[in-house]
Symmetry: C2
């Protein structure tokens, strides 16, 4: 049982939107945790030391309750199921489905396509508009869903996992010059959350590994 009492450790990278999602949820749920940076820009995820407990060689990884968990949506839902305080999923099943729809559009429909490992396989000409294209395509879908699901936040008036996933993606959208005026609901919700203490603390620029001279890396 000793292991269960240990503080969770989040292995991640300041610029990784997948890590960022988990940081927000840990903060919202007020789960005491440690953050250990893994420098993706130096390939630290492939080091022998890191592989020892995370053979998946990726971030985020959450060491919690005696296990190592990977994949951000899986981690988020594990936190929700084992730490139900400050819930991030609504009680109503249909509303939960709406939360997960929005998450999935970002997690499966946008993020995998903006990943550096994908960009590395494109030529310079393709790279130019690639990320912007996929973000705008995904945001178009999210914006439609929000027309019926949103209240103050993505689904109703309480912060949910959809908000944890959307906010980092909006930031990435700005990096890639996405015209946010085309997505007024996303823009409004993201502005609503940007000053929330849990979101502020999770922001890349407030991470211990945030470089003084930033380069956009993921």
């Amino acid at each position: 049982m000793a292991k269960l009492l240990e503080k969770p450790i989040l292995y991640g990278f300041w610029a990784s939107t997948c890590t960022w999602r988990v940081r927000i949820a840990l903060n919202l749920k007020e789960i005491p945790h440690e953050i250990k940076p893994v420098d993706l820009s130096k390939g630290a995820q492939h080091s022998e030391e890191y592989r020892k407990f995370n053979p998946m060689e990726q971030v985020p990884a959450l060491v919690i309750d005696g296990a190592t968990l990977v994949e951000s949506m899986s981690i988020l839902q594990y936190l929700e199921e084992t730490r139900p305080q400050k819930p991030l999923l609504p009680k109503d099943a249909l509303k939960r489905a709406k939360v997960r729809e929005i998450c999935e559009i970002v997690v499966a429909g946008i993020q995998p396509l903006q990943n550096l490992v994908v960009q590395d396989r494109l030529n310079e000409d393709q790279k130019k508009d690639w990320v912007k294209f996929w973000i705008e395509r995904g945001f178009t879908a999210v914006e439609k869903l929000l027309s019926s699901s949103a209240g103050k936040f993505c689904v109703g008036d309480e912060i949910t996992l959809a908000d944890c996933v959307l906010v980092p993606q909006v930031s990435k959208g700005r990096d890639f010059k996405v015209d946010m005026e085309k997505f007024p609901r996303i823009e409004r919700i993201s502005k609503e959350l940007v000053g929330h203490p849990a979101f502020v603390a999770a922001h890349p620029k407030n991470q211990p590994d945030f470089p003084t001279r930033t380069e956009n890396k993921e």
Copy 2:
């Protein structure tokens, strides 16, 4: 309440692995349902008729309990939460996390990259090994996870959502000449399931819209 008693309708396409996942789960849970094909090869997802109840213009869409749900993982989890018979998620939270990890590697790590809409943006030279590359990358990760999670199936000895998601992806892997000998655990589990009645009934070739002369489309 009348709407709640209506049979769910699954709008999908025979070759779509995302639709296929949902077909398997509906069969495993023995949920009576109707299947309505949407011919993606003819762009039927963009028709006015379809957009009326699914503005997302994609498949699968499940019309159920008076709502239209999209995004396969969201649909699968909604079915699990509202139709708990023949559960497809383990009771133990850590095991549930393992199920969702495997799902996420396929749903976010492989499928979005093999999608036709992505392939359409590549040149002929890139297309050749593109899909195979991403499937093998994802399967390498799944194979590692299975080394500690698998029993008879992906996680333990009961069929879970991970199996519903993995089996269609293995079939797609074969289409793209992935060498399955490199993934012996995936291969064993997929062979274990291929003859299961719920999986047989969900197979593309047993769908009403399966063409007599097949072309690989997704």
